[in-house]
Symmetry: C2
Subunit: 199 residues, 2 copies
Amino acid sequence: MVARDRSIENLIERLNRLPGIGPKTAERLAFHLLRIERAEALALSKAIEDVRAAVKTCSVCFNLDAQDPCGVCSDDSRDRTMLLVLEDPRELARFEDVGYRGLYHVLQGRMSQLENIGPDDLTIAPLLLRVKQAPPAEICLATNPDLEGEGTARVLAERLQPLGIKVTRLARGLPAGSSIAQVSSSILADAIEGRRTLS
Amino acid sequence: MVARDRSIENLIERLNRLPGIGPKTAERLAFHLLRIERAEALALSKAIEDVRAAVKTCSVCFNLDAQDPCGVCSDDSRDRTMLLVLEDPRELARFEDVGYRGLYHVLQGRMSQLENIGPDDLTIAPLLLRVKQAPPAEICLATNPDLEGEGTARVLAERLQPLGIKVTRLARGLPAGSSIAQVSSSILADAIEGRRTLS
């Protein structure tokens, strides 16, 4: 049998290592990259090279940026009394979009028994060091509202507690625009438990 | 608001141009490429570069290979009396896997009204030229068993008919291992229409 060129097999294998890209999708993408204009394909290759050349991990907050410290950490106009703790650098842009102007700390993941990710695999030690050196007025734990995010927040809260800083958590409740008849019972339970006094 | 580095936006945009990769997946992949080992990310970049440097389209059969004519076309041990017509170069490996040892012709797609792909967008003209110059004993139309594949096969059969070469089509019927109780009615109709005499 005629083997496929080694370079095709190699590209398929490389694409297959990406998250959510199975062998069939990897094959489809590889042949797409062979079919399109050469310049188009090489632009993707170069974009990967460029991003790895340009982007660094901020040594203060572990955000990804072209500079270290990153744009947020080095911006003196930001509110340094507020620190928002995130799982993933992607989430940072969402908070910027809704007008948050404090500081951040990126954990680089969340604790997970299933995936064998413990506190030491996250940037918890640098977080503790950082808030000891320059304590904010409030640390908001913005890990995700799921089992692993909650577990991570609980561990963080325990470790931050001795420092005497106010620790908060993002609100859980009804998503704006949802219908009470259709939300899940855990959402509704959250909404009842977190109910606010109006008058 | 703090903008993301231009190189990240560019990579997301490039990934988003790939088929089946939406903006959310593109973002996820871009941040994955930022998180993994630098060498891993650059290996993907290089794999794209290499594949475009190494792989050419065969000027005889339009297969993708490191040489032109491709490994199949230049292999004198292949059965030159048989020509299998395919939509896509990916499908070639499947036929090799099941032991087919004749020649191929890759159409580079199939006719589609919806996508405005007509006969002239495929490699039909080079196919006709090729079989006139060196007529095989049989041409098997191995386009897919769907509306567009059947339509393409019909047009091909019409154009090949004046050449007096035997033209065949891959069998349609029950997929091996399937359960008659569960296959669709169009599969069952194919199986009845294509029934074979045993004795």
